[in-house]
């Protein structure tokens, strides 16, 4: 979680790419990069989740450290000297992006695509005609009317697990199962979501960066080739179900709500909702 609104008395100063940057004590190197206006790719990091530092795309060079360090979780210390754009850093970031692209379908991961282009990642260079490489290929799980899971798009960033567990919902319906390249996000014994502990808050969908988790409404439109973000309006409102005051963002296309999100920096929700705010909007359309 970020320390938004927290006034910290102590500040630390570190050097990033030769420039001094001052941040509050306890901030991460990544936060300092943001402060300095340095665009740092992240994948498993989110402002409303505890850093799990598994994707390694945000690595930076830290003077005195043998290996690169994940900027998303390493606290900034006074006097640190950090480089974010060396050949080593660029190489690691490029390879991480390339590795991901070589194994899963990133066609709906817009941020990743942008970074892959920026870092010159070429995910196709691993396979050749005679030797295809292993990819994550799984049928899409459509088990209910609320959201779908397409693990051939999953980069295993752990965000959904965090949101379902300690960071937001405390439902623990999903976890990482298996090991290595075969590791997958899964319910116990891969039971369907209706048979699991899932409470359909949709917070996993809210944090998914690749479209592996998708609202059914969005999925159906994409299947019909009618998903048009450029034609969508986003209206911010307050959820009408109870008195908590969760802010909603209604994504509307062709005068119909196509999905509901909440701003990650909202003081009440931190981006997370419950089943009613997330999925209970059909009455708007008189259904």
């Amino acid at each position: 979680m970020t320390a938004a609104g927290t006034i910290t008395e102590t500040a630390v100063t570190l050097t990033i790419d030769g420039r001094p940057v001052e941040v509050a004590e306890g901030s991460t190197i990544h936060a300092a990069c943001v402060e300095a206006g340095i665009d740092t790719p992240t994948l498993c990091w989110a402002e409303n989740l505890t850093p799990v530092n598994v994707c390694r795309v945000c690595v930076v060079e830290l003077e005195g450290s043998r290996a690169l360090v994940p900027s998303c979780s390493r606290p900034a210390d006074d006097g640190m000297v950090v480089q974010t754009d060396t050949a080593r850093v660029r190489h690691s970031r490029r390879m991480v992006l390339e590795f991901l692209g070589s194994g899963v379908d990133l066609s709906q991961a817009e941020d990743l695509q942008r970074w892959m282009e920026a870092y010159g990642a070429d995910p196709d260079r691993y396979a050749d005609e005679d030797h295809p490489v292993e990819r994550v290929e799984e049928p899409v799980k459509v088990q209910d009317e609320l959201y779908i899971r397409d693990y051939s798009k999953c980069v295993l960033c752990y965000k959904c697990v965090e949101a379902c567990g300690d960071d937001a919902q405390h439902t623990f319906a999903i976890a990482v199962a298996g090991r290595g390249f075969d590791a997958r996000i899964s319910t116990e014994f891969d039971v369907t979501l209706p048979d699991s502990a899932c409470v359909y808050c949709g917070n996993c969908v809210g944090v998914c960066p690749t479209g592996a988790l998708q609202f059914k409404s969005e999925y159906d439109l994409r299947q019909a080739d009618e998903w048009r973000p450029e034609d969508q309006s986003v209206t911010r409102t307050v959820c009408s179900y109870c008195g908590v005051g969760c802010n909603l963002e209604l994504h509307v296309q062709d005068e119909r709500i196509v999905k509901v999100t909440s701003p990650a920096d909202h003081s009440v929700t931190s981006g997370h909702l419950c089943i009613k705010g997330r999925f209970g909007w059909q009455y708007v359309h008189g259904e």
């Binding site: 080593r88 976890a175 290595g180 502990a197």
Partner: protein, 588 residues
């Protein structure tokens, strides 16, 4: 009732009884705690109290019925207050646990396919096991490389696990050598008898440590220059001082007995043949660091070592060497054993903590380090058993006597695991500074063709050296300068008859299989590296573009992986390429 959602599947009486028995032996009442009011606020703290019994409970299920069933998971989840999805995530992490009904009756015969067993012909062993009607499961190194090909039998239906080769009498190649220090009791004192241990100098070090006091013990360990023998060679004195400096929280001493580096079997032999020494040294570590809780995390494929250590703990406790005021030192210390379940990564110290705590064996990011945030997030001194064994002589004889062996920067002696094509494979103890050539001579020279092709130093995470390295002095500093490593003490010899491509492709496959999957560089890099080498093997040569790709993949694994597994996954592969052991088109 807990507030955890459980599906409809229920455990059988047999499964419940197995789990209950496993928990009762660890002092846990397997009755579900009624939750009359909501006492907890956070998921992780809510589950903390019982979660670390998850691994023993899963072992009990696997042993009782041959797999971890949905009903079994639900029962364990309810009793231990662990969400079933997470319990399944843990069960599916380990090679010794099945999460699908077994497709065979009876026990599972694990046959090792790693280097030493590869060149000793594991196929023949597997064929003979199959011929007897048993079920074969091919898996990674079983830590019996000196008696390759290796076999481990995982019991089912309540039958215990066992290693057939353990029925043979144990022979130490250097038996009777008066220069032995760490191995001097092996084959001499009955490992199952506390009296025999005492008669051969046992518990003199702990008594001495009690007289010296914690500070003096730490000073002696620091002055001795002892460094970790698990592979990383971190100074033990520095580690202990850091733990001792922590106050106000429970502290732990963990013996990392998850020896899984292919080619390594030294800790197994020490634990099997001199278990009291490990227990005594851990007690000294507890005294020195002020830790009251001792844990042994031992790999699941070591049933004899587990039994001997448990026997030693029970005997030591009964005689007052463990427990309150252990051995009259005024310090409380006791030890519990947790068994791993088949995962190389759990030898990484922070993965080991997660595994023991009942989470997936995924390494944690460092810092923070175990000395401040170790087991259960508390200060922890985690040491390899061989490292601990050295402490006994350091305490008894002093740092100066200890430093009289070895070199200035690598004091003492080193246990080395000789395997592969040598005359007398086995465990050897030599002073640091012995040359590789002398060591191979000690082990009976190169077997097979008699002509050395390469030596694998430090295991799969280490590197190959060629026959021109026989003058290499085996010290931390000399191996580092030479660009190789002693690692966990693996010295595996390959004669000119061995197809090194097969060996190196298998090493790459090992990392592919054993990557935990948490971080991208290792999860995908280990797969792509293996695929690239398989391509090379099929083509008979490695193109310059592919050769460069291997280096590019290695660089990101070294630079950006979370832990040592990713950092070293390309090490042996690259050394084999630069030595020309693989990658060239055959000249004939």
């Amino acid at each position: 009732m807990t507030d955890i959602y459980l599906g409809a599947d229920r455990a059988t009486e047999l499964e419940e009884a197995a789990v209950d028995a496993a928990l009762r032996t660890r002092g846990v009442d397997p009755v579900v705690q009624p939750e009359t009011e909501r006492l907890y606020t956070s998921g992780r703290s809510r589950r903390r109290e019982r979660r670390h019994f998850l691994l023993p409970a899963l072992h009990a299920l696997q042993n009782a019925v041959g797999w971890i069933s949905p009903g079994g998971v639900n029962y364990v989840a309810e009793v231990l207050d662990v969400p079933p999805a997470e319990a399944f995530g843990v069960a599916s992490f380990y090679d010794l646990f099945r999460t699908e009904p077994p497709d065979h009756e009876g026990d599972t015969f694990h046959v090792c396919v790693d280097a030493a067993c590869q060149i000793a012909g594991y196929d023949d062993l597997a064929a003979s096991v199959r011929a007897s009607g048993a079920h074969v499961h091919f898996g990674p190194c079983l830590g019996q490389c000196e008696r390759a090909p290796a076999l481990f039998v995982q019991g089912c239906g309540g039958r215990p696990d066992y290693v057939p080769a353990d029925a043979e009498p144990f022979v130490l190649p250097q038996a009777g050598n008066p220069d032995l220090r760490l191995l001097r009791r092996i084959g001499v004192a009955d490992p199952e008898s506390l009296e025999a241990y005492l008669a051969h100098g046992g518990y003199q070090a702990l008594r001495r440590a009690g007289q010296m006091g914690a500070e003096a013990v730490m000073e002696a360990v620091a002055d001795s220059g002892l460094s970790g023998r698990g592979g990383a060679a971190f100074p033990t004195g520095v580690k202990w001082r850091a733990v001792a400096a922590e106050t106000g929280r429970p502290k732990h001493v963990v013996s990392n007995c998850d020896e899984s580096e292919p080619g390594t079997f030294k800790d197994r032999i020490v634990m099997e043949q001199d278990p009291f020494a490990v227990i005594e040294a851990m007690t000294i570590a507890g005294l020195a660091t002020g830790a009251a809780n001792g844990w042994i995390y031992i790999r699941g494929e070591y049933p004899l070592a587990t039994a001997r250590l448990q026997g030693a703990i029970d005997a030591a406790r009964a005689a007052g060497f463990l427990g309150e005021d252990a051995a009259g030192t005024g310090h409380d210390f006791d030890i519990a054993i947790w068994r791993g379940a088949g995962a190389y990564i759990c030898g990484e110290e922070t993965a080991l903590f997660n595994s023991l705590e009942g989470f997936r064996g995924e390494p944690r990011n460092k810092p923070p380090f175990p000395t401040t945030h170790g087991l259960f997030g508390e200060p922890t001194a985690i040491n390899n058993p061989e490292t601990l064994l050295n402490v006994l002589d350091i305490v008894t004889d002093g740092a100066d006597a200890y430093r009289s062996r070895g070199t200035e920067r690598s004091p003492g002696t080193k246990l080395l695991c000789l395997s592969g094509k040598v005359g007398r494979p086995g465990l050897y103890e030599v002073p640091f500074g012995t040359t590789l050539g002398d060591l191979l001579e000690l082990a009976g020279g190169v077997a097979g063709t008699g002509e050395l092709q390469a030596v694998l130093m430090g295991g799969a995470a280490g590197s190959f050296v060629g026959p021109d390295s026989l003058d290499l002095r085996l010290t931390l500093e000399d191996t580092r300068t030479a660009g190789t490593t002693l690692g966990s003490g693996v010295v595996m010899a390959f004669d000119t008859s061995v197809d090194m491509t097969d060996v190196v492709v298998r090493i790459a496959e090992f990392f592919r299989d054993e990557s935990c999957g948490q971080c991208v560089p290792c999860r995908v890099g280990a797969v792509r590296q293996h695929e690239t080498l398989v391509q090379m093997q099929k083509r008979g040569a490695l193109s310059p573009v592919r050769r460069e790709l291997i280096d590019e993949m290695a660089e990101v694994m070294v630079d950006a992986s979370i832990c040592g597994l990713g950092h070293t996954a390309a090490s042996a592969v690259r050394s084999a390429l630069s030595l020309g052991l693989i990658g060239e088109a055959p000249s004939s």
